[in-house]
């Protein structure tokens, strides 16, 4: 299954979350969404977002100034 990618680099709170929510709607159930962001607040925010929306945060990693989150759509 292909992974959808959302580039949210340079965007600040709450835009990465709002755009991720929208992008997830285009992902089939069980599918993956990869999000790239530079907002350090996004690390905690994506954890909370996934817990609240009952989706799975598959991974949360950092490469330099870029954070990468992979979310599996469950709901």
């Amino acid at each position: 299954m292909t992974t959808a990618v959302l580039d949210a680099k340079g965007l600040n709170c709450p835009l990465p979350i709002l755009k991720a929510k929208k992008a997830l709607q285009g992902v089939p159930a069980g599918g993956l969404l990869e999000i790239l962001a530079t907002d350090p607040g996004a690390v905690a925010d994506f954890q909370a977002f996934c817990r609240q929306t009952k989706n799975e945060l598959v991974s949360s990693t950092q490469d330099g100034k870029v954070y990468k989150f992979v979310i599996r759509r469950l709901t």
Binding site: G10, L11, N12, C13, P14, L15, I17, L18, A20, K21, T38, D39, A48, F49, Q52, T53
Partner: protein, 201 residues
């Protein structure tokens, strides 16, 4: 003859079972319930437009039911054109005055401009607004029209305060058609009572 039920023992048993089961039951109910939030938005400046719209759009993204009640200067945020919201550094000692351009050392300077100077220069507020908007753009922060659109798209209920509409001489035509209703405090309070989160901004 059947023994009479020992009510005291029965009560004790029920109480013990309730103590054991209730926390889990309540947690299950809480988990099942869709969270909700109500916000009273009372400010009509560019800076104060952010907290209500950020919280409302984010809550909606989390799947919560959100209603926003716009009253007094907050009604400004429901106008058809909100691209001209302004911020005032006058009488606002908490607001840093930094320049959104130039080298880093220059951007880092906090220009401490006395109120009497700010008040005396015509157009100072407009200048501050231009600088603030540039900073917002530089930092990748959403614009207010963008956040309001996100709220509307996510189904946030926008509610206007009818009393303030009358007080300030507005008509419903001054506001965006997405405003669901114009009501008073008696309609808002029961909504706030049922909400998990209720904020006054």
């Amino acid at each position: 003859m059947a023994a009479l039920p020992d009510t005291a023992a029965l009560d004790r048993l029920i109480s013990e079972r309730l103590d054991a089961l209730l926390p889990q039951k309540l947690a299950e109910l809480r988990e099942k319930k869709t969270a909700s939030m109500t916000i009273i938005a009372t400010k009509g400046t560019l800076d104060w437009a952010y907290p209500p719209f950020i919280l409302a759009s984010t809550a909606a993204a989390l799947g919560w039911n959100v209603s926003m009640f716009f009253t007094f200067y907050g009604l400004n945020l429901l106008k058809k054109d909100i691209s001209d919201l302004k911020v005032s550094p006058l009488g606002n000692p908490g607001m840093p005055m930094k320049m959104p351009f130039g080298p880093d050392w220059f951007r880092g300077i906090n220009w401490n401009i006395p109120n009497v100077v700010e008040a005396g220069i015509p157009g100072f507020e407009s200048l501050a607004t231009v600088l603030m908007k540039q900073t917002i753009q530089n930092k990748g922060v959403a614009s207010i029209p963008e956040l309001r659109s996100a709220c509307i798209e996510a189904g946030v209920n926008l509610i206007g305060c009818q009393m303030t509409v009358d007080l300030f001489g507005f008509t419903h035509d001054d506001f965006i058609p997405e405003v669901k209703e114009y009501v008073g405090a008696a309609t808002f309070l029961p909504m706030a009572r049922d909400a998990d989160v209720s904020l006054f901004i």
